[in-house]
């Protein structure tokens, strides 16, 4: 028996539907409002349309609404779909049907067709997917035989072949990625054919004449052309492992003869290749500065630019304007517009100048307490933390450490996170803010022994340490005198080698550590104690195990009186390396505590720092830097810089250091 044909485009509703009185007799008749009952026998208020109740279509097809399952049965079917065993069906025939020209390739109509044909079972199909010649769809196992009965049906002029399969159903993503991969391969071939390996030039000129891009339909519309360019530029960026590698590989790009009317059309080049040094825009249609303005603050390292053949080159002040936009520019349209030195100066002026940085500033009085304390502290911290705590910390001392807040998945922070008191992350009402403030020498020592072993550089390595310190008044006197006591604030920035053998982490970590020292209780080992100790951990740079493990010494376990739960887990990496306890204050001599504005308050050490910094910034020799600062500027930093700017053209060559 020949299989029955499915309905053609215009027909709706199942042929086998029992006709109701409203439709009896054929022709057009007004629908009567007849009371009817639903499955439970209750009166339904919904309008009737033949015997097929209307219901919302999952795919929104207006035509199919009349033929789709009612809401309640659709809902129950959807629920069944979620809990039922599934099987996958492959349907062949859609590609050769008339429906293939529909917007969605005919998928929606085909699924509606199958639902209509299987209406006795009230089957609601999930979303199918077209992959190659097949439509793939997941159905409930119990529904599969009903749908399989449609095998051989004619749908929109094509015979359907339906088969059950164990092959995995393709996903929308995999389908897209396959198509994208093909396009990507073609775009990459375009890029590789246009990259000059010798000159390191990416030649994206005259893209409109490129046969591969033409075949891809890249230039069918302007928006498509822009999208294709963005894709090309994105691919350029993604082909390199690091920005540095990309910078080295592509210093020059040509976008000549592309009919560009505004750089907005190719703006992404500035994001993908921000360090471009040579750019050719010859022969485009850039009319005025406005057409270039999107790149005004981009390409800050651009040394060579070609705009010949663009109307913008006839604008008044063309050269000066373009020079002001690109601070490193030295060659414009083949003409030198700046020397390298002038470009360097323009670049300096175009970039933010962070606050100048000076060496350590130690103002701890003549006794040099800070240097002695730091030397003794970090020597013992690396070798014997329990002993250290008992020497400098008493029952009122406090310690806390702070790790960054973005370390949840970074295992290099694992040894610290459970002790971290980052109040910015914890929030003001978090109990951990209280619990992770460690109070008293024994508790502090206990925490220290659980932290990774460390080795700090010796203080003799002056460059490795930045130390600022000064005295202040206002601490409580531990002898209960009514007078406030003096304190010493020491702020340290350095790095330490770290070995966390338990987690197999070895490397170098930057840190800041802030101590507040104050007078000790009577009978303490030292005249001063640590009142406050705040350790802030920064970046981590992994190192090979061998290079770190040897110099890092394990801390000695805490004394018996102090419970050290994890003392045994602290790895002994290597025997303690001999460390000379430095007692000499680093780098800078102490300066007076009282500071007031004006030259009289600036001590020799600070003056030396200012001279050094001015030399660094201006390239002048120390002698000229000193003259500049001590002259009319009277050691006012801003005045000195201003004076330099005014006089630099008149300065002799010997004013600048050879380097």
């Amino acid at each position: 028996m020949a299989p029955p044909n499915g309905p053609r485009g215009g027909s709706s509703g199942p042929r086998s539907s029992p006709r109701t009185s409203t439709a009896r007799g054929g022709g057009i008749s007004k629908r009567r409002s007849t009371a009817r009952t639903d499955r439970d026998g209750d009166v339904s208020m919904a309008p009737a349309a033949g015997s097929a109740p209307t219901g919302p279509s999952a795919r929104g097809s207006g035509r199919s609404r009349a033929s789709r399952a009612p809401r309640s049965s659709r809902l129950s079917q959807n629920i069944r779909n979620h809990i039922a065993d599934k099987t996958t069906l492959k349907i062949l025939g859609l590609k050769s049907s008339k429906a293939v020209n529909n917007k969605d390739g005919g998928l929606r109509n085909l699924l509606d067709f199958i639902e209509r044909k299987s209406k006795d079972k009230n089957i609601v199909l999930s979303r199918g997917i077209i992959d190659g010649d097949y439509v793939w769809i997941k159905v409930n196992k119990e529904d599969a035989p009903v749908i399989m009965r449609l095998n051989g049906f004619t749908y929109a002029g094509a015979s359907l072949t339906i088969e059950e399969t164990n092959e995995p159903m393709p996903t929308a993503a995999s389908k897209v990625s396959r198509e994208a991969a093909e396009t990507k391969a073609k775009l990459l071939s375009v890029l590789s054919s246009r990259y000059n390996d010798v000159g390191k030039i990416l030649d994206l000129s005259a893209l409109g004449a490129d046969p591969i891009l033409g075949n891809l339909g890249t230039f069918d519309s302007q928006s498509l052309a822009q999208k294709s360019f963005r894709a090309l530029v994105h691919l350029v960026g993604s082909e390199y492992r690091s920005p540095e590698e990309k910078r080295e590989a592509i210093p020059a790009v040509s976008l000549a003869r592309n009919d560009i009317t505004d750089v907005d059309q190719v703006f992404t080049l500035a994001y993908s290749l921000p360090h471009l040094r040579r750019l050719d825009l010859t022969g485009n249609k850039l009319d005025n500065f406005s057409a270039l303005s999107k790149w005004k603050h981009e390409f800050r390292h651009l040394e060579e630019l070609h705009l010949t053949g663009n109307p913008v080159t006839t604008q008044p002040n063309y050269v000066a304007e373009i020079m002001s936009w690109f601070p490193s520019l030295q060659i414009l349209d083949g003409q030198q517009v700046r020397t390298p030195a002038e470009a360097a100066e323009a670049m300096r002026a175009a970039n933010p100048q962070p606050i100048p940085e000076f060496p350590s500033n130690l103002r701890d009085g003549d006794a040099g307490i800070a240097g002695a304390f730091i030397g003794a502290f970090f020597d013992l911290y690396d070798r014997d933390r329990a002993a250290l705590a008992s020497q400098f910390y008493d029952m009122e001392s406090t310690f806390s450490l702070t790790a960054p807040d973005n370390n949840s998945r970074d295992h290099s922070w694992r040894a610290y996170t459970q002790y971290s008191r980052n109040l910015q992350k914890l929030g003001p009402r978090n109990q951990l803010g209280v619990d992770r403030l460690y109070v008293g020498g024994p508790q502090i020592a206990q925490v220290w022994t659980k932290l990774p072993v460390t080795r700090h550089p010796p203080l003799s390595e002056g460059d490795a340490w930045l130390v600022d310190c000064h005295t202040f008044n206002g601490l409580a006197d531990p002898t209960n005198s009514s007078l406030p006591a003096m304190g010493l604030m020491i702020n340290i920035h350095a790095s330490f080698e770290e070995a966390d053998a338990a987690h197999n982490h070895f490397g170098v970590r930057k840190f800041s550590r802030n101590f507040i020292l104050g007078p000790s209780m009577p009978g303490a080992p030292h005249p001063y104690r640590v009142i406050s100790d705040q350790l802030t951990l920064h970046g981590w740079k992994p190192q090979a195990v061998a290079s770190v493990a040897a110099p890092v010494a394990a801390p000695v376990a805490a004394p018996a009186a102090v419970p050290v739960a994890a003392a045994t887990s602290v790895p002994v990496v290597a025997p303690a390396a001999p460390v000379i306890a430095p007692v000499i204050a680093p780098v800078i001599a102490p300066v007076p505590t009282q500071i007031s504005p004006g030259a009289a308050s600036i001590d020799d050490a600070t003056k030396a720092q200012m001279i050094q910094e001015l030399s660094r910034l201006t390239g002048m020799t120390s002698e000229y830097s000193q003259l500049c600062l001590s002259g009319a500027a009277d050691w006012n930093w801003d005045m000195a810089l201003k004076s330099f700017e005014e006089l630099k053209a008149a300065l002799p060559a010997e004013a600048f250091s050879a380097s």
Partner: protein
């Protein structure tokens, strides 16, 4: 150590940071945040705030403002680019829970040692400063220069503000309840 004092020190730190870095990021005057220009402390003979920025001692908050202003306005500074400090971590600890310098007898009587008010605190703040970041951008991804920074403050009560009633609803005032006697700033490469 008293828990009230610890909790108050945390709260004070958070409010001070909101206030202080709000001033910096909006290029507002910083003087009110320092002891130097505080009448109560000046009349009691307190020395000026100690301000050390990247190793250079600055005599007044106004000098620090100038340094900040210079870092905000480079020669060819685009109008839509600003400098933004983003705090990523902070820690606060109590140094003296019975601070009395320049306090009126009344305030000393009202606020006991364990009330979390008459405290000298240290506050360590770390974060990132973005130079040349887009003014209206919510993310700080498009910047010209980036540095990490660490600020260490020693704070004492601002008796004038603390003496006023109903300060809790005023955010700015909450940030001004403590003022700076010492400020040490360091910036370093990220």
């Amino acid at each position: 150590m008293d828990t009230t004092n610890i909790r108050c020190a945390i709260d004070i730190g958070q409010k001070f940071i909101d206030y202080y870095y709000g001033l910096i990021n909006n290029a507002k005057p910083l003087s009110p945040a320092y002891v130097t220009n505080n009448d109560t402390y000046k009349q009691a003979g307190h020395v000026a705030s100690d301000i050390c920025v990247n190793g250079l001692v600055l005599g007044t908050p106004e000098e620090f403002e100038k340094v900040l202003e210079k870092s905000r306005t480079w020669t060819n500074c685009p109008s839509d680019r600003v400098v933004r400090y983003v705090v990523e971590s902070f820690n606060s600890q109590v140094l003296n829970s019975d601070y009395q310098f320049a306090a009126s007898r009344e305030l000393v009587d009202i606020h006991g040692k364990n009330d979390g008010v008459r405290m000298m605190l240290t506050l360590s703040v770390s974060g990132t400063v973005y130079y040349g970041v887009e003014k209206h951008a919510r993310e700080n991804t498009n910047y010209m220069v980036k540095k990490h920074f660490n600020d260490v403050f020693i704070l004492v009560p601002n008796w004038e503000v603390i003496g006023r009633a109903n300060m809790s609803s005023n955010k700015a005032a909450a940030g001004r309840r403590y003022i700076i006697v010492s400020h040490t700033h360091r910036a370093f490469d990220a």
